[in-house]
């Protein structure tokens, strides 16, 4: 049947078109990161990879961008990784215990505290830029790793997701634990934590990407080059005049900046989709 034939190739054609649009900017960055500055400047640059892959990445990783305005990319990647991991595990740790408190205990102010956490969803950094900066500055946390990470560790999203999961843990488990004489901390460690494994994996993916990709906050808090993260640092490698930009190094840095979160998403795809869909419920 003719209709079935067309239904067969059309979706694939459209999907390939979509893939091309999605992949092209990344492909071009990859190619540019294997060329010399001169090759790129000759416009249009070659669209097949050149032989300078190793040189460019070594140069970017060990020496940094134009006029040394940015530190070596390796140092920035290390800062990004540390920041992303501290934010991720900090958020998970802080959220899992507060969700546990809200679900498994009854105490005065429980709903009030829950709403306090919930409401932070409505106060992203972007809407309180200056005063947050001032609070951090009053605490002497400007240009410090703590200043970079601690203010971002509260998480309504993670608390809501874990709370929702904790509600589904059967009452019988709690009863059994009580009969066996296990207290709340023991129950948390031996029952709740192991049961939460997939939820924690899902949160890990979402929060790692969130942490690694932070932009506005490091931009405000860090003026010390030694604390620069790769996502903020890459902009400093782009000169205002076109001639001064080593685009091959910038593109090598772009690839290095997108590789860790992209790998996390691709390798942990199953948990990622689960986390994404469930945190939005």
């Amino acid at each position: 049947m003719a209709a079935n034939r067309s239904a067969d190739w059309l979706p694939h054609a459209i999907l390939w078109g979509g893939l091309a649009v999605v992949a092209f900017p990344i492909y071009l960055a990859l190619v540019a990161s294997t060329l010399t500055t001169q090759q790129i400047a000759q416009a249009p640059m070659p669209i097949l990879p050149g032989p300078h892959l190793l040189d460019n990445y070594r140069d970017a990783l060990l020496r940094g961008g134009i006029e040394r305005l940015s530190p070596p990319v390796m140092a920035m990647m290390w800062n990004s990784l540390l920041m992303a991991l501290v934010i991720t595990f900090g958020k998970i740790a802080v959220s899992i215990i507060s969700a546990y408190a809200v679900v498994f205990f009854r105490f005065p102010g429980r709903m009030f505290f829950f709403w306090c956490i919930f409401i932070t969803l409505m106060l992203p950094v972007e809407v309180r830029i200056l005063p947050t900066y001032e609070v951090v500055s009053d605490l002497g946390m400007i240009n410090s790793f703590a200043g970079l990470t601690v203010p971002l560790i509260a998480s309504a999203t993670a608390t809501l997701l874990l709370r929702q999961f904790f509600m589904t843990i059967p009452d019988e488990y709690v009863e059994a634990a009580k009969i066996d004489g296990a207290g709340p901390l023991r129950f948390f460690r031996d029952v709740v934590l192991p049961l939460s494994r997939t939820n924690i994996a899902a949160l890990f993916v979402i929060l790692f990407i969130y942490g690694w990709n932070q932009y506005l906050w490091p931009l405000l808090i860090v003026t010390d080059q030694n604390l620069d993260t790769i996502v903020v640092g890459i902009k400093k490698m782009i000169g205002t005049g076109d001639a001064t930009t080593d685009w091959n190094l910038v593109m090598a840095t772009a690839i290095l900046a997108l590789l860790p979160p992209a790998l996390v998403v691709v390798l942990m795809q199953r948990w990622f989709v689960k986390g994404l869909v469930e945190t939005e419920k």
Binding site: I47, S98, I129, T132, V174, I234, L276
Partner: protein
């Protein structure tokens, strides 16, 4: 919403909540309160005197043609990003829902941009459309298009819109695909038996059933365009040329951090907060509907 069996400690729950609440109080509520407070104060240029001025700051910014221009610019930007991120995502999701072969490959590749930082996405697009070295800029020039985002405001706007939308397609694609896959196959088969073609099936069965997802994504995309695109704007255009891409969130940053106009920046922050709160409420309303359908 309540468990029947619980633990009976008095102190422990407070200890467990303490870290989260401490961070929330110090870094969320205190600054938000201060933004509210500062929005009704005016500081002289040397920071020596502070004066209570009531709603004066709000009156000033709402009467400021620059601010109003930024409001309209943001609305235009958000609408364009939302459309450009949602329509292709829906098309791709519908296609991905139909194919069996290579479905995993499509899915994996299409979600990658979600992981890329807005600023990095911006840099990738800046490179392609850079008037001196960009491949696509060169292509446009050879087609006779006069293209220069560093000088022309609408070119710059087009560039940040496309870069922002590109990054968000992945997110919309995943949610549309999940929505499509939850539509009962029997409904589609019934429509087929009644003789409906693919496009008719889509508009009369699939699209209406997908509307909760669509509304939800509409809100999420508007929030994204309003706030999360800061990195794109900052890295690609810096709000320029001549403020042509200065959306509200960039203006708060610029007026507060660069121009150090505290009263105005705080008042702008308060307005943005009101917008987020409104959008968040809408989001939760739609989610509730989604749960019921």
């Amino acid at each position: 919403m309540q468990r029947k069996v619980i633990f009976n400690n008095k102190l422990l729950p407070y200890l467990l909540l303490a870290p989260q609440l401490a961070i929330t109080a110090v870094f969320f509520f205190l600054p938000a309160g201060q933004a509210l407070f500062m929005s009704v104060l005016m500081q002289d240029p040397f920071g020596a005197r502070v004066e209570f001025v009531g709603l004066e700051n709000f009156r000033t910014i709402l009467a400021d043609p620059d601010y109003i221009a930024s409001v309209w610019r943001t609305a235009y930007f958000a609408l364009a990003v939302t459309l450009l991120a949602m329509v292709p995502a829906l098309l791709l999701a519908v296609m991905a829902d139909r194919v069996v072969r290579a479905a995993a490959l499509y899915k994996t590749t299409l979600v990658v941009p979600y992981a890329i930082a807005p600023a990095v996405a911006g840099v990738l697009w800046l490179f392609m459309f850079n008037p001196a070295v960009g491949v696509l800029a060169w292509l446009m020039r050879s087609l006779g298009v006069d293209w220069n985002p560093t000088l022309d405001g609408s070119d710059a706007m087009a560039l940040v819109i496309v870069a922002s939308a590109w990054k968000q397609i992945a997110y919309n694609f995943l949610f549309f695909l999940a929505g499509l896959q939850s539509i009962p196959r029997s409904l589609l088969e019934a429509a087929s038996i009644d003789g409906a073609g693919e496009s008719r099936k889509f508009w009369t069965v699939v699209f209406p059933l997908l509307s909760p997802t669509t509304f939800f994504l509409l809100v999420v995309n508007i929030v994204y365009a309003f706030f999360d695109t800061f990195g794109v704007i900052h890295a690609v255009t810096g709000g320029g040329p001549a403020k042509a891409t200065e959306i509200l969130v960039y203006k708060v940053y610029y007026d507060g951090v660069i121009a150090l106009d505290l009263g105005s920046s705080s008042a702008q922050s308060v307005i943005l907060m009101a917008i987020v709160i409104g959008l968040t409420f809408m989001q939760f309303r739609f989610i509730e509907r989604r749960v019921h359908y």
